[in-house]
Amino acid sequence: MTPTKEPTGPLSALREFPQNIWNSIFRNPLPSTDLERSSTSFTNFFLHIHPVKVNRNTLRPAYTMGLGLMATFLFVILVVTGVLLMFYYVPSTTQAYDRMLDLRGTVAFGIFLRNMHRWSAHGMVAIVFLHMCRVFFTGAYKRPREFNWILGVLLLLVTLFLSFTGYLLPWDQLAFWAITVGTSIAGYAPIVGQQIKFVLLGDTTVGQEALLRFYVLHVAVLPAVLVLLMAIHFWRIRKDGGLSRPEKRPAPATDAGVVKLKKIYGLQGFVRGPFTKLGNVPDDSVYSWPNLLMAELFVFVLTISAILVVSLLFNAPLEQPVNVMHPPNPAKAPWYFLGLQEMVSYSAFWGGIGIPGLMVAVLLLVPYIDRGTAGVGRWFAKERLLANTIFLTLVILNVIFIVIGTFFRGPNWSLVWPF
């Protein structure tokens, strides 16, 4: 290419400054043609996570309810608020609680940031769990998505572990005894239980070593693992051909909400099948730009406004400073482990290790046991009645145990009436 003959003196360079800077960063125009819409997936760093086109069903709120996106956005909020909190928090048994008081008292937006972090954390555990239910009930773990389901189970465990490690950091009575109970449950594992507890806590009891190790896990190791698993999880979605959907779908009643476009430049079209498919079969896909992006944006706004409102209205708890001589009665684990604690009160091994272990094993094995491909992409498909029923039962049982552990257990773990 020959250079143009335009004058390139300093004056003209100065005049063209803004244009040149803008153009050097944003080299492609805001899409206005189909070609441009398609190319957003490979001309923008952040957007290349999107396929060029997505199936219509993927964007249906009633299908996914945006739970996966919500979990991701909650994680983003957690990382941002978490890093901000890191500027003021010190993982020392003598300083941690005072720092929490400072965050509450003197740090600008300290209360608010901490609330956001706390409620996003609880929210993420709940949303991740609901997301898992959604995936199960729509049969989206079946072939070819088995490994993605495995990744999801791992993501669930890492999320729980992240929440657990973060729970200790305020170093108040709530934190200390919850983690004491939680790690005691872990110690019930046969043979390796005590060893694992020792390595986790760095000592025989919860103390400075445990606080330091939990801090490192919480801010560095587990987020890195989570991000890695999330990246593979999203990659897998793309490779599996996008989200699951029913096989055949009647023509939609209305095209409202979908931006209709003339030409179709689907990458998958180039890769997977012959051109002739285009236009010959009902095309259920829509351009990612702007439809998927709008959906994501909407879910993000929904998530963050919910978190903002909740953070404004409710303060994260901070109880008395740690008093090793004074266990509260009852001492309760974080809510997502209360189901376990309830079960432990019947049998230490089965409640703490046996049943949870079995549950995780079953979850991991489900896609390899349930091989039928009927009913994928629909909620509560009749073809999957057995699987759905079993899963729903387990879910409800878990919720019941958590509810009992939360509201119906009092001093000495005796049954109490909460009202």
């Binding site: 004491t180 060893q195 020792f198 000592d203 025989t204 001589m325 266990p327 009665n329 000495n412």
Partner: protein
Amino acid sequence: MTVAPPSHDKPAASAEAAMPRRRMLAWLSGFGLFASALLAVVSDWLFFKPRVTYGPSARFAIGKPDDFPPGTRIARDVERVCIVREGNKIAAISTTCTHLGCIVGIADTGFACPCHGSHYDQDGNVTGGPAPKPLPWFQVSLAPNGDIVIDKNAPVDPGTYLTV
């Protein structure tokens, strides 16, 4: 390092001679790296397992036998242990309640926990309250300089005594 250029008259033969050598080198490299990775993994486990902890030591001296007259039960709250002496036999029973970790006090009938009402008999067996397990007994030994040494990392069967 120089690679000898393959001789032009016998390319096939030298290519075949290179194969076992190549395979061996590949195997050596693989072995070296894999074994290193294995060592690294084992080292990680060693790294994470603490070799010292900073709390009070689990093994400590508690005094001389003469400090515990026969027929007495003396509780040491700091060390969370009760020294029982019957005649010339000494034992150490934990005073950490097995329910949620409070310090139990000596009662007429044995031990009683002020926090949630657990009761134990003279030997530490549970007689009431929410405690799930009996109070453990610890190994008692005699140090060369005459001190009684308790090892809380070494639980022993209830009824095990040290004869002094």
